[in-house]
Each structure stands twice: as structure tokens, then as C-alpha cells.
């Protein structure tokens, strides 16, 4: 009906205008796709650039002795740092997993309580606290006030606090997938809360929780700032003491040895960067694999 309202004479004038408009719109769309495509290509190229630098320089610095000898001054190997990273991360997970999973269960299974709502929100806020602030907190409390010195305990506790919210929230997300029928069936059979949650619900979502733990592990391996003033650094293997004994870790080697004007030290930094990046990416890929298999 709108056609009817257009005076006959104007029709011929509108057609080329419409045509022009279509051209402009086509151009706009093509430009749009080109620009957005360029953005994605840019991101991919930059990512490949970073990975290529780390992989090429790291691979050329690789040798067996890196894994068998400890750091000596500006050279030597990374065995102490590799062991330290493992010890600190395992320590962090031992602390963070029970608390994180427990908190996740609570905010999922008792979601209606206001305590759960508050914790869910605060977990998200805690994720955003800069890791250096955590490190400084650790320094002020554990190193300085409690007098632990640079230590595995202080480093692991700070890493655990950083990892907590991730584990908590992924556990919650995993538990959300569990159909209510499963819970109801459990209760109907007369099982208590403990039994229903620990024996029925938790086992069914283990892969989901595992995904979260793996991501948290990747984060703890990649952290530097919170460890500088809590774990310290050591050229030697860990002596088994939880306090009063500093420990090495790979990210420290990256930060410190790239700054040295000696090629030997730089090679250590590249090797450490290569190892850290490989660990972290490998864990991410694995966790995605676990997650996908679970969701098929």
C-alpha cells in the first residue's frame, strides 16, 4: 500500500537512488566482514608470533642437562625450578581443591541461601584482586609478621587463595548440570545429604570438576608476581621444609634471567618460558579434552 502513496513521477527517480543505496550497503557489509576478519587474523598472527618466539628460542635452548642439573649462577639447569614449580603447584592444589570444591558444592546445592549468593559474588570479586596484591598480603602476614621466611608454605597458600575462586565456580557450574531427578532419587532412597552429594552427585560430575582443577593448576604454574615475595628463589632442590626455606620456580627464571646481559642466562630464560608455556597450554588442551568428552 505504500507504493500506492508514492506519486507516479517519483518512481523513476527512486530506482537509481535505491541502487546507490544498495551499493553503499553492500560496501558497508563487505568492509565490515573485511575489518572483523582482519581483527581475528591480527589476533591469530600475534598469538602465533608469541608462541613462535617462545618455541624457537626455547627449543634451541633445550638440552638434557636442563632437566638434570640445578641452576648455578647464570647457567646450569632448571631442575630446581621445575621441581619448585611442581611442589608449589601441588601444595596449592592440596589446599585449594578441598576448600574450592567444598565451597562450590555449597553454593550449588544450597543456592537459595543468602550465604551462597554472597559467596558466589565474592568469589567473582576475589578473581579480580590483582595477584601482586595477594603476594604483598602474603609478605606482610606470613613472611614478615609470622616470620616464616621465603617458603613453600607461604607461596602455596597464596597460590591456593588465587586458585580457590576458579575451582569453586567451575565446581558449581559442573553441579548445575546434574538433573534434579538424581538428587531426588537419592533422597527418596533415604540417603542423607552427605551420602547424596559425595556418593551420587559428585562422582557423576568429576570430569567437570577436574576441568576446573586443571585450569587452576595452569594458573598456579604461570604466576610470578605473588611468588616473588613469598616463595623467594633457590638454586637448590627443595629440602622438604615448609617454612624457612626458599624455593625456585620457572617463572622466576624467565623474569630474572632474561634481564641478564649474558647469553647463557638468556638461554635459561627462554628454556624456562618454553617449559612454562608448554605446561600451561598442554593443561588447557587436556582440560578441554576432558570437558568435551564429558559433554558428548
Amino acid at each position: 500500500m505504500s507504493v500506492a502513496s508514492i506519486p507516479a513521477g517519483t518512481v523513476s527517480a527512486t530506482v537509481p537512488k535505491l541502487h546507490k543505496m544498495r551499493m553503499a550497503r553492500r560496501l558497508f557489509s563487505s568492509l565490515g566482514w573485511a575489518t572483523t576478519g582482519f581483527c581475528l587474523a591480527l589476533l591469530s598472527i600475534l598469538m602465533l608470533w608469541i608462541l613462535a618466539v617462545v618455541a624457537i628460542r626455547g627449543a634451541s635452548a633445550m638440552s638434557l642437562s636442563l632437566f638434570t642439573t640445578i641452576t648455578q649462577g647464570n647457567g646450569g639447569g632448571l631442575l630446581n625450578a621445575i621441581e619448585g614449580t611442581v611442589v608449589l603447584s601441588v601444595g596449592a592444589m592440596l589446599l585449594a581443591v578441598p576448600f574450592g570444591v567444598g565451597a562450590g558444592i555449597y553454593i550449588s546445592e544450597y543456592r537459595q541461601t543468602s550465604w551462597a549468593t554472597a559467596i558466589r559474588f565474592l568469589a567473582d570479586v576475589l578473581v579480580g584482586v590483582p595477584s601482586i596484591v595477594m603476594g604483598y598480603f602474603g609478605y606482610v602476614t606470613m613472611i614478615d609478621y609470622l616470620g616464616w621466611g621465603f617458603s613453600v608454605a607461604a607461596g602455596s597458600i597464596i597460590l591456593a587463595i588465587i586458585c580457590l575462586p576458579y575451582i569453586c565456580r567451575t565446581t558449581e557450574l559442573a553441579l548445575e548440570q546434574v538433573p534434579n531427578a538424581l538428587r531426588e532419587a537419592g533422597y527418596a532412597l533415604g540417603a542423607g545429604e552427605w551420602r547424596v552429594i559425595m556418593r551420587i552427585i559428585l562422582p557423576s560430575v568429576l570430569p567437570g570438576i577436574l576441568t576446573g582443577i586443571m585450569l587452576a593448576l595452569a594458573i598456579s604454574i604461570g604466576e610470578t608476581a605473588p611468588l616473588l615475595y613469598t616463595a623467594g628463589w633457590s638454586n637448590y632442590l627443595w629440602d622438604g621444609r615448609l617454612t624457612h626455606s626458599p624455593i625456585g620456580y620457572l617463572t622466576y627464571a624467565v623474569y630474572t634471567f632474561i634481564n641478564e646481559p649474558f647469553a647463557e642466562a638468556n638461554a635459561l630464560a627462554y628454556a624456562a618460558a618454553f617449559l612454562v608455556t608448554s605446561f600451561v597450554l598442554l593443561i588447557n588442551v587436556l582440560s578441554r579434552f576432558v570437558f568435551d568428552r564429558h559433554h558428548q
Partner: protein, 359 residues
């Protein structure tokens, strides 16, 4: 249900394996109960410790010494807090620090000197002449360009470029900052009023000025920044040379321009070390004498007199005594490699006395 239990079992097996692997790591780490000493601090002393420690450990396998290059500031504060047994520092403790931390020892291990390095393309082999007041002017932002009249005046015949000077300073607490700012303070009244000297000073805001961490960071920043200037410990001379940096001749108290070498450093040593007090806290900066190099200093081990255990104290004393022994760590092949000079006999005696007091 059976597949689920299977999965859980597999997971718990994996967990057991992981814990077992962890236990093996822990076990292998704790295989021997040696004495462990942590040395941290001065990046200037770090290269020397890296020469010392492997040799020392060959003869003393029951002592493990970790070396760490963090800056004298860290060395001092971690020695005070007991985190490190040996705080390596190019600076001695202040009166206030001595007062609030009684029982801290400042034990010289060797004598070092400091270079002023620059990166002015084309002039890096020319040993530009610089004086305390000119350096103060540069770090205060009053002397902005390389062809400033004040620089041109003491470098007649040198074709200086009209490029902005980028002063590089240390961001970490640093003994190099301490001795460099002492040189500026003692030679330039203006600087001694403010900012003065210390392991950290409030650097005047100079547009473009950058901060770097440790001597290594100073070398890299100067190398990567044309028209920059910096102060770097002598033990990094091989690094500054391979980076192609220029090394300035500095004006001494007698108005002569000198480079740090055996002759000029020894000349300054003989002028200054005689007045070393019993606690050995003394500045060796800006020595008189036509030959004297103006920036030399004692390299200190900052030690807590009272150690946590008798065994630690014993190991620490043994190592320190070895370090200042002219037939041990004080041997010239160690010191020459990093450009240091041995302590004069009188200072060695004072140091020994302090080492003996460690418990």
C-alpha cells in the same frame, strides 16, 4: 554404575600415582642434611659469588650456598630479617638501621669500583670526560642534551650530538645507587642538599628517564637506548664491553679525569682505607690524589651476629674467612676476573675480627 566406579578408580589411581611421584621428589630433595646458606643482594657482587661458590663447594660439600642477584637493598633487608644469612651489599647500614637492628655486622670482602657508561653512537670508544657536577646536572634534568655547554667545555674537540640525554637509574634498592649518589653528593653541594645519597633516592623527575633492575638491567637498558647514560658496577665490564657501551673518564677530587683500572683504584684505596673504623662502615668515595679513581667502595657481607644455630654460624664463619683469605677467595684470579681489588691487610684484620664475633 560400574563404568562410573571404574572412572573414579582410574582417577584415584592417578591421584595415588601423583602423590607417589611427589613423594619421590620430596625424598630426593631431602637426601642429605647439609647446612644451607642463602646469599642475596648486590648484583655487583653476584658475579664474584658465582666464581666463589662452585669452587668452595668442591672443597666443602656439606655446605650449600644459594646465590641470588636482587640488589643491595634486598641483601640488607633480608639479612636483617634473617631470611638470608649473607646479605651482599655495596652499601653499609645507616646509623638508624644499626640502631634499630643491633648486632648487624658490615664485613668488607673486597674493593670494587663503578663505571659511568653511556651509549652515544659514534662516541662509544672515545671515553668522554664527565664530572660530578655534570652528572648531577644530567640526573637533575638541568643538562638535557649531549652537546650542552657544560659537557662540551670538558670535552674539547669532541663532536657532540644534539640529542636528548636519557638518564637510567636503578629502581631496586641498590648499593650502586648509594655509591653513585655519594659521588654526586661529595662533588656537588647542590645534590647533597637534595636528593642526597642512599640505596634509593628520590630521583629528580627527568623527562624520558628510565629505571632498570640490577646491573644486568642497567646494561640492557643502556644498550637498547641510544643517547642514554648509566652507572654500572665494574664486575659487569665484560658485559658493557660486549654491549659496546662507552665508558666515561670521571673527574676526581684533584680535578683529573681518570678511568677505573688497577692503578687508579689502588691509588684511591691507599688514600682512603687507612681511616676504616672498627665496624668498617666507611665511604671510600671521592678520594684525593691525582691518580685516584673517585668511585670505589667496600663490597660488604651484611651478617647477623647471632645466627639461628651454632652449625650455621660455624659454616658461615668458615666461608667468610675463606672469602677474605688471600689464598682463598681473596686470590687475585677471582678478583681480577670481576675487576675487584683485594682488601688491604689492615682491613682484612678488621674483617677477621668481625667474623670471629659471629655466634
Amino acid at each position: 554404575m560400574s563404568t562410573r566406579t571404574g572412572r573414579v578408580n582410574r582417577l584415584s589411581n592417578a591421584a595415588v600415582a601423583a602423590i607417589a611421584a611427589g613423594a619421590v621428589l620430596v625424598g630426593s630433595a631431602a637426601y642429605a642434611a647439609e647446612i644451607r646458606l642463602l646469599e642475596t643482594g648486590s648484583s655487583l657482587l653476584y658475579p664474584l659469588f658465582n666464581l666463589w661458590v662452585p669452587d668452595y663447594q668442591k672443597k666443602n660439600p656439606d655446605v650449600q650456598i644459594t646465590t641470588q642477584s636482587t640488589g643491595s637493598g634486598t641483601g640488607i633487608s633480608q639479612a636483617i630479617s634473617g631470611i638470608a644469612q649473607i646479605g651482599a651489599s655495596d652499601a653499609y647500614l645507616s646509623n638508624a638501621q644499626m640502631k634499630s637492628n643491633p648486632g648487624m655486622l658490615n664485613i668488607p670482602l673486597a674493593i670494587s669500583s663503578q663505571m659511568v657508561n653511556y651509549n652515544v653512537p659514534g662516541l662509544n670508544n672515545d671515553h668522554l670526560k664527565l664530572s660530578g657536577p655534570v652528572l648531577a646536572g644530567i640526573y637533575e634534568g638541568k643538562i638535557k642534551y649531549w652537546d650542552d655547554a657544560a659537557i662540551a667545555q670538558i670535552n674539547p674537540g669532541v663532536k657532540l650530538p644534539h640529542n636528548g640525554i636519557v638518564p637510567v637509574h636503578r629502581t631496586d634498592g641498590s648499593g650502586d645507587t648509594f655509591i653513585f649518589t655519594q659521588y654526586l653528593s661529595f662533588s656537588t653541594p647542590d645534590w647533597s642538599n637534595s636528593p642526597g645519597y642512599g640505596t634509593t633516592v628520590s630521583w629528580p623527575a627527568v623527562q624520558g628517564g628510565i629505571g632498570a633492575v640490577g646491573n644486568p638491567g642497567m646494561v640492557n637498558a643502556t644498550k637498547g637506548t641510544p643517547y642514554s647514560i648509566s652507572y654500572i658496577g665494574i664486575s659487569f665490564k665484560s658485559a658493557t664491553d660486549s654491549a659496546g657501551l662507552g665508558e666515561a673518564m670521571l673527574e676526581n677530587k684533584d680535578g683529573k679525569f681518570v678511568l677505573p683500572d688497577d692503578t687508579t683504584v689502588s691509588a684511591a684505596v691507599s688514600e682512603m682505607t687507612a681511616k676504616t673504623p672498627a665496624d668498617e662502615r666507611v665511604s671510600l668515595i671521592f678520594a684525593p690524589g691525582p691518580q685516584s679513581y673517585p668511585i670505589i667502595n667496600y663490597e660488604y657481607a651484611i651478617i647477623k651476629q647471632k645466627q639461628t644455630s651454632a652449625d650455621t654460624a660455624k659454616a658461615l664463619k668458615a666461608f667468610l674467612n675463606w672469602a677474605i683469605d688471600p689464598n682463598g677467595g681473596g686470590a687475585s684470579h677471582y678478583l681480577k676476573a670481576v675487576g675487584f681489588v683485594a682488601l688491604p691487610d689492615a682491613t682484612v684484620k678488621l674483617s677477621q675480627k668481625q667474623i670471629d664475633s659471629i655466634q
